[in-house]
Amino acid sequence: MSAVRTAAPPPAPAGRFGGLLRAEAHRFVARRFIQVLLLLAALGWVTATVIGLTQFASTTPERLAAAQQQLQEEVELSNEFREQCLASTDVPADAAPDEFCGPPVTAADLDLDWYLDPAPFSLASAGTAGAVAFGAAGAVLAFLVGATFVGAEWSSRSMVALLFWETRRPRVLGAKTAVVAVASAVLGVVAHGAWLATAGLWQVVAGDGAALPDGFWSELLATGGRGVLLTTLIGLLGFGLTNLVRNTGAALGVGFVYFAVLETAVRAVRPAWQPWLLTDNAAALVLPDGLTLYTGFDPVTGVSTEYLLGNLQAGVFLAVVAAVVLTVGTVLFTRRDLH
């Protein structure tokens, strides 16, 4: 080994938070498993886009005429059945014929798309639903990324090594939390960008060419924004949960038991508690008008109890859960002896 520098500096404080933040960001970006997860997600997106192209086809005058004819035949067949129904003796005396056999069927009652196989892609009707789906997929990915980021720190024990450099534990965790929050938000934005790219491609190649309704883009943007919020909160939840149990596998196990066992049991045994379930709140946060839950059923009156879980309520609930998990993890991390 060669000579070392021998200058005697005065006592030096720990590095600045900005340096810690940059180092955490670089550590995050360089993590191989995170790169693999993102690559798999990108492959999944490409695959879904390609599959979509095979499932949709734009309309031609010939396909439209054939579908129109098929629709007309369906209308005529339905009305024939109705005539037979009206002529039969099965109609109860106290029931109106239209009530028992239904009203006459017209072409307006049927959707022409049903007779187009493959159907064209409709951005107007599928745009928001796709944004919700991509938001959900982004949230799952953010959970995994957040969990594996801090899980790797614990399994390699580099979390402890970091404390030789920055002894203020809340700062260490704060820098990691900030990086996960930003990364999860970016992931959410990218997920919605990916959906727009997919939907745009489908619309151009196999779209129905229909005009978009008023307010379409504002609703899509709002859904995308709530999706980004969901991705951020779920990423932080994955990070916080894994930091609590200090192991990625254990955190995923806890997540599985919660989603597969606890939520299923609550839905079956205590449906009134559904507004407190994470998945319902996640769905309610992203869906344009929130989520309507059926929280009870009176067998005497036959009336179901409905509960509307709104966007704001769901967002606040998820934010509080994430904050509690992160705070408990930080407090424990600050107080624990580290070996």
Binding site: M1, S2, A3, V4, R5, T6, A7, A8, P9, P10, P11, A12, P13, A14, G15, R16, G19, L20, R22, A23, H26, R27, A30, R31, R32, A152, S156, R157, S158, V160, A161, L162, L163, F164, W165, E166, T167, R168, R335, D337, L338, H339
Partner: protein, 304 residues
């Protein structure tokens, strides 16, 4: 100003279904600035717990701890930039290269990147710096750990078993490095090791731990002489006559091939006086000191 001060520091670990384990028991330890301070003790004596307390990883139950004149843990952020540490096994991301691991640490502490190359050169790892850490041999991992500890150009360098896994050449290199750092006048090295020869070769001061206490501390040679065997080696031209004189004076004498070994001597000067009175003049008079291993074993022996 001492680099390390610990007064009446205690720490016990809770154990399920059993009495708590006392890791540190009113430990008093002072490491003066400069030089190499050896930190010796058998397994479980509390060495690593002491180091973890110094670095703020473990909170003691009682006692005062100061590092570079700042209280631990509250004052640690003010001095941690001057403290380098390698505790047990080096902790790095296995999937990152050695260079990337060091760069990330340097970024955390605001250390320039050029320093990374300097310390890689110091530990002779430049050629393998771009290999992944998980592919390193134990010795290379240890060297990277030392490089990380040196990144901050520390005033206090804490090394816990730095020779673990190193081959003989690596051990020699690490000892030379520690010696150089200890001699540079600006770095204090606290060297925890179970290799007594290592402490003997490189340390100026030594503290010996047993059962969570510091049971001996001071310059290495003083700790050794304080554990003198009480024997004195005497070389004279006429061994037979000198042996007879000493025996007549009440000493227990054991002749060997070329010297006399006189046992149970409270004051070696008495031998000089007795022999000179009878016309025997000394060629050598050497107290037979116990080696560090003997002193260490005697000091750390479990009480009966």
């Amino acid at each position: 100003m001492p680099a390390v001060e610990m007064h009446a520091v205690s720490k016990s670990y809770a154990r399920r279904g059993r009495r708590p384990q006392q890791a540190l028991d009113s430990l008093d330890l002072v490491v003066e600035s400069g030089g190499v301070h050896g930190f010796l003790g058998p397994n479980g004596s509390g060495k690593t717990t002491t180091i973890r307390v110094l670095l703020g990883l473990i909170r003691p139950d009682a006692g005062d701890v100061r590092l570079l004149d700042r209280p631990v843990p509250d004052g640690l952020p003010q001095v941690i930039g001057s403290v380098g540490a390698l505790v047990e096994t080096p902790l790095f991301f296995p999937g990152f290269s050695g260079r990337r691991n060091l760069r990330l640490l340097a970024e955390t502490a605001g250390v320039p990147r050029t320093r990374v190359e300097e310390v890689l050169e110091t530990v002779d790892l430049q050629d393998r710096a771009d290999d992944r850490f998980k592919g390193y041999s134990l010795g290379m991992k240890q060297r990277l750990g030392i490089a990380a500890a040196l990144l901050k150009s520390p005033r206090l360098l804490i090394l816990d078993e730095p020779s673990n896994g190193l081959d003989p050449a690596g051990i020699r290199d690490v000892r030379e490095l520690i010696r150089r750092l200890g001699n540079d006048g600006s770095t204090t090295v606290l060297l925890s090791s179970h290799l007594l020869a290592e402490i003997e070769q490189v340390a100026d001061q030594v503290s010996i731990m047993a059962r969570g206490r510091c049971i001996a501390s001071g310059p290495v040679h003083e700790v050794l002489s304080g554990r003198s065997s009480g024997d004195v080696r005497v070389r004279v031209p006429d061994r037979a006559a000198a042996a007879a004189v000493l025996a007549a004076a009440g000493f227990t004498v054991t002749p060997t091939a070329d010297v006399l070994v006189v046992s149970g001597v409270p004051a070696p000067g008495e031998i000089t006086r007795v022999l000179a009175q009878h016309g025997h003049y000394l060629e050598e008079l050497t107290p037979v000191a116990a080696d560090l291993e003997s002193a260490f074993l005697a000091l750390t022996a479990e009480p009966a």
